[in-house]
């Protein structure tokens, strides 16, 4: 139990026997996580996305939502209400409460089941809500019935861990009232302060993407924490919209050895907007920061890529076409079966994933339109 040099034994024995200086019995768990979630029968189209307090179940197209009975595994000792296996109507998202083993902590999960693929084509960035602890914005899209059809992902949950964000506007991914029409998306490249630098992540570029940000991986493998793409059943043709850009004053790279940001005079920051249409397979269910634009990636069907070309003080229009990769095309059967995904990514620093960029770079984006192939 306690190892040490022999010389340490004397006081340790004294203290140990006299004062109970030893490892005490383990306390009951304080965590209240849903660790996994499944549905009986072959109804899931892909693995559920399990966030800290939200779960999205992607069902095969046309699966009725009225009577689903999700089954959960929880943090050991934790309990859930309603119980695992309870049949519920998921026409609207359902709430579950998990209580930790020690009874002191409760976490509410909101579970959404979707059997329709995401079909919005105009993104105006008018809809936001705050994350659970009211720190940062989350953008979402709604359908004709007003229900949420998709939540955009961002790295904000990672930035939260730097302790730098005092208001939602301090976060790299935020909302601006100053849109082309109404409000718009505002992405800012931010410095991450002493904690970010300690983790070799001195800056955080503002980013927004279709998919899921797995904050659990944000430190251990940051490029893999961005799960790009959401299921679509139409093939994209082009992506257009409006932007403004202001590059930050000084471009920095990072030297891991000295943990210092190195100014790079002469380098200017640029934004990056891109779309990737790809096949989701068992081997590669989603793209991430390591492979989303990889020329050799066999899953990618087509890419629309727009690297910024300097500052734009006025609202400027962009339009980019999805260019098919040589020899690659979508299979209509797979498309109908929901086996393709579309990643749309906006970032305020082109090399933000390498933690290079100019703090203060700002990208405003509004009225983005996705054009799909007529079927």
């Amino acid at each position: 139990m306690i190892q040490g040099k022999k010389i340490a034994l004397l006081p340790l024995l004294m203290c140990g026997f006299l004062f109970g200086y030893c490892i005490r019995e383990e306390a009951p768990n304080a965590e209240a996580d849903i660790e996994s979630c499944t549905l009986p029968g072959d109804v899931l189209n892909r693995e559920p996305e399990i966030g800290n307090d939200r779960i999205t179940l992607y069902l095969k197209k046309g699966t009725p939502l009225t009577a689903l009975a999700p089954e959960f595994t929880l943090t050991p000792g934790a309990t859930i209400v309603p119980e695992s296996g309870t049949v519920r109507d998921f026409t609207t998202p359902q709430t579950y409460t998990v209580t930790s083993e020690d009874g002191r902590w409760h976490k509410e999960y909101r579970i959404t089941a979707m059997s329709d693929v995401f079909s919005n084509t105009l993104f105006s960035f008018e809809n936001t809500r705050m994350n659970t602890n009211q720190k940062y914005y989350i953008f979402y899209e709604t359908g004709a019935d007003g229900k949420t059809t998709m939540e955009w992902a961002s790295g904000n949950a990672g930035f939260l861990m730097t302790g730098k964000g005092k208001t939602p506007e301090d976060y790299p991914t935020s909302l601006s009232a100053d849109g082309y029409e109404g409000s718009c998306l505002l992405l800012t490249t931010c410095e991450t302060g002493s904690f970010g630098t300690m983790m070799n992540m001195p800056i955080a570029a503002g980013n927004l993407f279709t998919g899921f940000f797995n904050v659990t991986e944000a430190l251990s493998s940051p490029l893999k924490a961005t799960h790009f793409g959401t299921t679509v059943d139409k093939e994209p043709v082009s992506l257009s919209g409006w932007y403004r850009y202001e590059s930050g004053p000084t471009f920095y790279t990072f030297d891991k050895g000295s943990k210092k940001m190195q100014p790079q005079p002469g380098r200017q920051d640029n934004f990056h907007i891109y779309g990737v249409f790809y096949e989701s397979t068992d081997e590669m269910p989603h793209l991430d920061g390591t492979n989303a634009l990889d020329d050799a990636n066999p899953n990618i069907i087509s890419v629309a890529d727009f690297v910024g070309d300097g500052d734009a003080a006025e609202w400027t229009e962009f339009s980019i076409d999805f260019k098919p990769r040589p020899g690659r095309q979508a299979d209509p059967l797979k498309l109908a079966a929901g086996q393709y995904k579309l990643a749309i990514v906006f970032t305020s620093s082109l090399h933000g994933e390498l933690f290079e960029g100019a703090p203060g770079s700002r990208l405003w984006v509004d009225e983005v339109r996705l054009t799909n192939k007529e079927q």
Binding site: A8, L10, F19, Y21, N133, T162, S194, A218
Partner: protein
């Protein structure tokens, strides 16, 4: 390191003993004799402190102590004892000790509540599960005041309070291989693995004045050579009162083992 330290220590003790013996022989003067006649005794002593700084008892959050090293912590001390009464059974000790107290530990914790403040005032708080390495080293002047009791010619007990004034201190370390739950156990979970570590340094939050109790035994092995052991039990935490990053009160508890020269 430990071995080298010990060798150095014994060399020092040896040097002090030889030197004082030489001085003493030549000059076992009227002053000392006079002192002895009124019940005053003097001794000097060199020792090492072995122990740790820890919450007591260990909190449930600490699940495993992977390694512990007392490090090399020395002390040099001068004491005066005034004996009372005819039989000189009871007395008072007043001393001055220059000492270091230190340790290095590597522990695994579960659901350990922490809050750290960055250079720019950034705050992160949450619950950590994983590895914690800690290094503590404090240098201080200590004034012990103790009641002494003589069991026989060779054996003396002492017990009383001490007060320490720290001149220098280091409390630092890092967390590794584990995960942080942001804000509380239901918050976002962020995994630290491989070489991802978060360092901390609370040296500036160490208290200047520490106090506690000490109880010791002193054995006169030869006419002038004494061997002693004392338990130094800190009664206040090593951190300032308003410091709440380390949520437990960390008490310094050390064993001092020393050799001395009695005049």
């Amino acid at each position: 390191m430990m071995k080298k330290g010990l060798a150095y220590f014994f060399a020092c003790v040896g040097a002090i003993a030889v030197h004082t013996a030489a001085v003493a022989q030549e000059d076992y003067t009227i002053g000392i004799r006079r002192s002895a006649s009124v019940g005053l005794e003097y001794e000097i002593r060199a020792g090492i402190n072995i122990g740790g700084t820890s919450p007591l008892p260990l909190p449930v959050e600490i699940r495993q102590i992977g390694s512990y090293s007392p490090t090399f912590c020395s002390s040099i001390e001068g004491n005066a004892v005034k004996w009372f009464g005819e039989r000189r059974k009871w007395g008072m000790l007043l001393g001055l000790r220059i000492e270091t107290k230190g340790m290095e530990t590597d522990a695994r914790v579960k659901n350990y509540r922490m809050e750290i403040v960055g250079d720019g005032g950034e705050r992160i708080k949450g619950n950590w599960t994983g590895g914690v390495r800690t290094k503590y080293r404090g240098t201080m002047f200590t004034v012990p005041v103790a009641a002494t009791y003589r069991i026989n010619k060779r054996l003396r007990l002492d017990c009383g309070p001490y007060i320490s004034f720290a001149t220098d201190g280091d409390f630092s370390g890092h967390v590794y291989e584990g995960y942080l739950r942001e804000n509380d156990p239901t918050g976002d979970k962020v995994v630290f693995e491989d070489d991802r570590i978060a360092t901390y340094d609370f040296s500036d939050d160490l208290r200047t004045v520490q106090y506690g109790l000490q109880a010791g035994i002193n054995w006169k092995a030869f006419k002038h050579l004494t061997v002693s052991g004392s338990l130094l039990w800190g009664l206040n935490g090593i951190f300032k009162k308003d410091f709440d990053t380390v949520t437990f009160t960390m008490y310094p508890v050390y064993m001092n083992i020393g050799f001395g020269y009695a005049f």
